[in-house]
């Protein structure tokens, strides 16, 4: 009897399994007679929203504290311990999410995707460090960013890389920023989060590939201080721009520079501008020729970059899910020998017409075409400006921190022998 029932049920079930009927009451809910109480489906909620307010408060307090320590107290020790705290709180306790670097993408997505609602805490993480940088320089990098703190801790033997190599590697953050904005604006991916080297360490669960990446960064960070901050960080680009126009900034000397050159080697980040005393070392005509060359080269690079970017738009768009799906559906013969990709299974069960998929993909491709032009122009402009910066020398009299590149870590402060009142302290 039981056997017959099982077979009968199986026949029924086999006929049912080809239908796309999800959540349909095939078997009515039984009327229990034994007084059985149906358990509740547990739906535990996320972390309380109050804690997001705490994160923003900690961020604001840490920024204020580091700014005070750098500009008023001039204390490297204070900055160091604040950065250790930030590493513990934003890194290991909050597990690296949300961070200011990644918030670039949320803000971009909010600007381009009207349906996306950005949480206020994320917006605060994006805006607050930039506002503080406009006032006090990159104090965020010095002691609040857990990435910076992590790399600062391992920079035992900082070497100065070749200036040309430095300039070339210095291009990378701009490219990374451009790509991150492009991919966020098109709603494709958050690449900053995807290739976040330290989040795996904060969570103790890095994938093998990412562990190699973060290990390489940390080991090279022993000799080249803060490699991520200098050669990758996209938020650093924005902070660099803001810091150039900051209201106050860390100064190496509390008073007048006495040209003692003690601080010259103190900066692990190559961010101290050495005096260029000779106003015009190469003569007027050479400078004029260089200026003409630069003013011709920069527009050339912009156009060249934009054109290259627009050529590459299809490759760039390959990351987008909609474009990927359309590609798979357009070329079914390429996947004939393989099991059906999950994307196709999902597409079939969604019942969407093929034209809708193609239209969506075409729309994304069009946005990537425009984005490719803009990204290319941006990279071309940056390349031209970096070249211009290397061709043209700027006149300066004292040892000063380069406001754009300086992380305000306050290491140089300890090397300056000048006291606040202008007298020179003689150390035995």
């Amino acid at each position: 009897m039981k056997k017959i029932r099982v077979i009968f049920i199986f026949v029924v079930l086999l006929s049912l399994q080809f239908m796309n009927a999800y959540g349909v009451q095939r078997f009515p809910k039984p009327d229990f007679e034994s007084g059985y109480l149906q358990p509740e489906t547990l739906q535990p909620s996320a972390r309380a929203g109050l804690l997001a307010i705490m994160d923003v408060s900690v961020l604001a307090l840490a920024l204020a504290l580091v700014s005070w320590l750098v500009l008023k107290k001039r204390s490297r020790t204070g900055v160091f311990w604040t950065s250790v705290f930030s590493l513990a709180y934003f890194g290991f306790y909050r597990q690296g999410c949300v961070c200011s670097i990644g918030a670039i993408q949320n803000v971009t997505l909010a600007l381009f995707d009207k349906s996306y609602v950005i949480p206020l805490a994320v917006l605060a993480f994006f805006i607050l460090p930039l506002v503080f940088t406009l006032f006090f320089g990159r104090t965020f990098c010095a002691g609040v960013c857990p990435f910076g703190a992590m790399q600062d801790l391992v920079s035992f033997r900082p070497q100065k890389p070749d200036p040309r190599l430095n300039a070339v590697l210095g291009m990378m953050p701009y490219i990374y920023l451009g790509l991150a904005v492009l991919y966020a604006a098109t709603g494709s991916d958050f690449i900053i989060c995807r290739y976040d080297p330290f989040v795996g360490i904060f969570r103790f669960n890095a994938s093998f590939g990412m562990l190699i990446f973060s290990g390489t960064l940390l080991v090279s960070g022993i000799f080249i201080a803060r490699p991520y901050c200098r050669y990758l960080c996209p938020y650093g680009v924005l902070l660099n721009w803001a810091s150039r126009f900051s209201w106050r900034h860390l100064t190496i000397t509390p008073d007048k520079c006495i040209q003692c050159r003690l601080c010259e080697e103190s900066c692990p980040y190559d961010a101290i501008d050495i005096p260029v005393v000779d106003l015009n070392p190469e003569g007027r005509s050479v400078t004029a020729r260089k200026l003409i060359l630069v003013s011709l080269l920069v527009p050339f690079f912009i156009v060249l970059g934009g054109w290259t970017g627009s050529r590459l738009h299809e490759t760039l768009a390959g990351v987008n899910g909609k474009v990927r799906l359309a590609k798979i559906l357009l070329e079914p013969e390429r996947y004939r020998d393989q099991p059906e990709p999950f994307e196709v299974t999902a597409y079939k069960s969604s019942g969407k017409p093929l034209t809708v998929v193609y239209d969506e993909a075409a729309g994304v491709l069009r946005r990537f075409y425009t984005g490719g032009w803009l990204l290319g122009c941006f990279i071309g402009l940056v390349f031209g400006m970096i070249l211009a910066g290397r061709l043209l020398t700027r006149y300066s009299t004292d040892y000063t921190p380069n406001k754009g590149a300086c992380f305000s870590c306050a290491r140089c402060v300890d090397y300056c022998p000048v006291e606040k009142n202008g007298t020179k302290e003689v150390k035995p």
């Binding site: 509740e40 597990q95 609602v117 917006l123 019942g351």
Partner: protein, 196 residues
């Protein structure tokens, strides 16, 4: 800028720097207002829509957590309490008992308990569940679809960009308000939807 116009130290370079600083500050403020205007509803969390899910199994492997935050959730209100449970038994199972070789779940995370003839209660042992979706597929194909994959918000670490969402072939993941963090499918009394 006007109040500093009389400053004797103000030279051309400083004036430009100040103007840019003020512009940048106002720009940031403008950006914040523009973006924040439609914000305010508070935090969002990631969740997957079970009606889009095709149980491909990537939830189990693509979470940043070694043990995925996506687990099977049992909506008891939808369950038929079947003896032959499509989510519990491997297809073709002849003897309906709790022997390991009969179970569809690779980690023995579904507990089967006799209630009254012929009904059995199925409970998910959440710490054992890996979110592979095998039972969800079985229940959806043969039963009422009361087993559904969900991001368990108490386990999720709330990444800015969910790494499962990135690889989900069905685009089932989306950001939902933290106040209503689950997208459980409830009972539909009408017949099977057309299409598919």
């Amino acid at each position: 800028m006007e109040e500093t116009a009389g400053d004797p130290k103000l030279n051309r370079r400083e004036f430009i720097v100040r103007s840019i600083r003020v512009t940048a500050f106002l720009g940031l403020g403008g950006l914040a207002v523009l973006v924040a205007e439609k914000s305010g509803s508070g935090e969002t969390v990631w969740q997957l829509d079970p009606s889009k899910c095709i149980q491909c199994g990537r939830c189990a492997t693509n979470c940043v957590l070694a043990h995925s935050a996506v687990r099977c959730t049992h909506v008891y209100a939808m369950c038929g309490y079947c003896d032959l449970c499509g989510g519990y038994f491997k297809p073709g199972t002849k003897t309906l008992n709790t022997a390991a070789e009969n179970q569809l779940c690779p980690t023995n995370a579904i507990k089967r308990k006799f209630v009254e003839d012929p009904f059995f209660e199925y409970t998910i042992d959440e710490p054992l569940c890996i979110g592979c979706g095998k039972c969800v597929k079985g229940c959806g194909a043969f039963g009422n679809g009361s087993l559904q994959l969900q991001v368990r918000q108490n386990i999720c670490v709330h990444c800015n960009q969910c790494s499962i969402a990135r690889s989900c072939p069905a685009e089932a993941f989306s950001r939902v308000p933290a106040k209503k963090p689950y997208l459980l499918k409830q009972i539909t009394l009408e017949g099977p939807k057309s299409g598919g």
